[in-house]
């Protein structure tokens, strides 16, 4: 039990000598549900928990770099408010007091939000996303904003304008993307929970690469209000966690209708927490599982295939009926996606024009100081190469003369893929595939070279976004010391159907190896944090900031000066 540290005169070192040396080590390694229990019983306060996470963040960030902004001072204030509410006897939501990290693609009032792009550097949003309002109302301290590929465009987090994030299993490797920051933060025990956004696999593929759970809910199941738009017909906010139950608890908190999002579903959130608890019983009799034939084609690495086949055998041993499902149009998902997504990106990113928010870069002095030249200079300096590539490709796909050849065709292929899913779900409850064909690759190995190589990472995750269906990635064991992910997809609005087998797989793998997969991860930063003194919140607030300022100065300062207010 973590003793309350109220005696300020007692130094931290004395405290640890006087009590269990590993207490903090243990508390940050609990699941969010376990933390919530300890908060409810008064065994630990939200402040203690939040400070413990800040200590881990400070120790981990030099090697992991998951955070673009650490909002430690605010988090401790929010933790105190949460503790005060509880002390007053207020009935608290399930996750009250449990800290959380947020992908920097989601706007947070008063906390810098950049989408990992230079074009938004320094932007402090004047409003909260709907999911953030819900998290704040639930009394969950917000630890900070996590790194991503710029505007969520990429599969490795190397396309962040500021720095790449490292995979805690092997820091020379990528954590996946675009939500590599959220996934790494949760895997490295810097946060028990995080939020991500998933347009083509940006929550699930990093989940597979880092040994965490990642969920893309049904399109419209969680409000997109305040999620920075990438491809609006596919974007979806969802949970990142270390257990299936934790993801369910978070999805129930953030889900539901929102009048501020015209694509928000009026339906109630499916009973995902109950489904996850049911799955933990490891009884899958009556559950019909379909293996997508086309998802096991070429390109799947041998270790991923081995782990996948083993996981399927576990499903069978728990009573699930497993069959193969043929979806011939599915291989066209990737190509349809790489028409639709850039088209929507080109439209959505037109708003960054140096006029109302974000940076403004004036043209060189020898050019006319017009609005047009300002926009050219601002967008040239503000966007990275991958974003420029997608805006130009999307603009071309939407241009007169080519619209029907590319965009129109892709929209019709999308219909075919949806029809195949509808047909498949007539005979099975859920569909399964590996989340990613490979495990985490080396940093720098895919950045230059053929762009399609990186795009192939999302081949198994994209179909769910095209069809608007829910999908979850759960760890399915290590391969050569690196995590691999198992994906389960369910029909629209039936997110609960995938949570049950997901929790069952998690429980079966744990029983088999007698431990959680993440318990085998070496975490020297957690031990370092447990043995050091509390990190001051004001110091933690500065983590990674000098590096970002240097990037901004180089990009914007070299071309022209930023106009002051």
């Amino acid at each position: 039990m973590l003793r309350r540290r109220l005696t300020v005169s007692l130094s931290r070192l004395e405290f640890w000598e006087a009590s269990d040396m590993s207490a903090e080590n243990e508390i940050v390694k609990l699941s969010a549900a376990q933390m919530a229990q300890k908060l409810a019983s008064g065994e630990v306060s939200s402040r203690e928990l939040t400070q413990a996470e800040i200590n881990v963040i400070a120790a981990a960030e030099p090697s992991i770099k998951a955070f673009l902004t650490v909002s430690a001072s605010r988090a401790l204030k929010e933790a105190d408010e949460s503790d005060a509410r509880r002390a007053k006897g207020e009935k608290m939501p399930a996750l009250a007091g449990v800290p959380i990290a947020i992908k920097d693609m989601i706007v947070t009032k008063g906390i810098e939000t950049t989408a990992a792009s230079k074009i938004l550097k320094g932007w402090i949003p004047p409003y909260d996303a709907t999911v953030i309002r819900k998290i704040r109302a639930a009394g969950m301290p917000l630890l900070g904003k996590t790194n991503l590929d710029e505007f969520a465009q990429g599969s490795s987090t190397e396309h962040s304008a500021f720095f790449p994030t490292h995979n805690p299993w092997d820091t020379t490797r990528v954590p996946g993307g675009s939500g590599g920051g959220s996934a790494s933060a949760v895997a490295a025990f810097e946060a028990p929970l995080a939020l991500g956004t998933d347009t083509g696999g940006s929550i699930r593929q990093p989940g597979a690469f880092t040994g965490t759970v990642g969920v893309k809910p049904t399109y419209g199941g969680v409000s997109r209000f305040g999620a920075i738009a990438m491809a609006s017909s596919m974007d979806q906010i969802g949970p990142v966690s270390r257990t299936v139950l934790d993801a369910a608890l978070l999805q129930e908190l953030i889900g539901g209708y929102d009048a501020n999002d015209s694509t928000s579903l009026p339906d109630a959130v499916p009973p995902v927490v109950a489904a996850a608890r049911e799955g933990q019983k490891m009884d899958l009799h009556g559950v019909r599982v379909g293996i997508i034939k086309q998802a096991l084609g070429e390109g799947i690495s041998d270790p991923v295939r081995t782990n996948f086949e083993h996981t399927v055998s576990l499903l069978k041993s728990m009573g699930a009926q497993v069959s193969e499902v043929d979806m011939p149009a599915l291989p066209y998902s990737l190509d349809a996606y790489y028409v639709l997504m850039p088209s929507e990106v080109s439209s959505n990113l037109a708003r960054y024009d140096g006029m109302r928010y974000g940076i403004r870069v004036m043209p060189p002095a020898d050019q006319e100081q017009s609005a047009q030249n300002m926009m050219l200079a601002t967008r040239e300096a503000g966007f990275g190469p991958e974003v420029k590539r997608r805006i130009i490709l999307g603009t071309y796909a939407l241009s007169a003369g080519f619209y029907d050849k590319w965009y129109g065709s892709a929209q019709r292929v999308r219909t075919l893929i949806i029809r195949e899913f509808n047909q498949a779900f007539k005979s099975v409850d859920v569909l399964v595939s590996p989340t990613s064909p490979i495990s985490a690759f080396k940093i720098g190995s895919e950045v230059s070279g053929n762009p399609m190589t990186m795009y192939m990472n999302d081949i198994a995750t994209i179909p769910a976004n095209l069809a608007g269906i829910p999908a979850i990635s759960v760890p399915m064991g290590l391969a050569n010391g690196l995590p691999t992910g198992f994906q389960i997809m369910a029909p629209q609005k039936r997110d609960d159907l995938m949570y049950k087998p997901a929790a069952a797989v998690e429980a079966a793998l744990k029983q088999e190896s007698c431990a959680d997969m993440l318990s085998s991860l070496k975490t020297p930063w957690v031990d370092q944090a447990a043995h050091g003194s509390d990190v001051a919140a004001t110091d933690a607030d500065q983590i990674n900031k000098a590096e970002e300022a240097a990037v901004e100065a180089k990009a914007v300062g070299a071309r022209s000066t930023r106009e002051e207010k």
């Binding site: 004047p126 006029m355 109302r356 928010y357 050219l376 590319w406 399609m452 629209q492």
Partner: protein, 98 residues
């Protein structure tokens, strides 16, 4: 024949207001041609009588209640602007000098 030429990429860059050097445009052209070759595969499927999908979870178009509110104050709305004056956004000259 390649879909994109360097000249075309520069022209597209201008249309979307992204300044590109010749070198950048040339590099982008190569990447875009690789992508174009791949995504053209979607035309292999017969989609003649298939309707297009815009929203995968179709909803009846609806509007929320029209109630008066001040979601953002003037100060908040202007808080992220690069340049403001007298409660307004300040933009560089829109029309040319000629």
């Amino acid at each position: 024949m390649s879909t994109f030429t360097t000249k075309q990429v520069k022209r597209l860059g201008f249309l979307v207001r992204i300044g590109l050097t010749d070198e950048e445009a040339d590099h982008l052209k190569n990447d875009l041609n690789v992508i174009a070759d791949s995504i053209s595969k979607i035309q292999e499927l017969d989609t003649k009588d298939v309707p297009p999908t815009t929203n995968p979870v179709p909803l009846k178009a609806h509007l929320r209640d029209d109630t008066a509110a001040t979601p953002l104050t003037l100060k908040e709305a202007l808080s992220g602007a690069p340049k403001t004056s007298d409660g307004q956004f300040v933009a560089p000259r829109i029309l040319g000098s000629e």
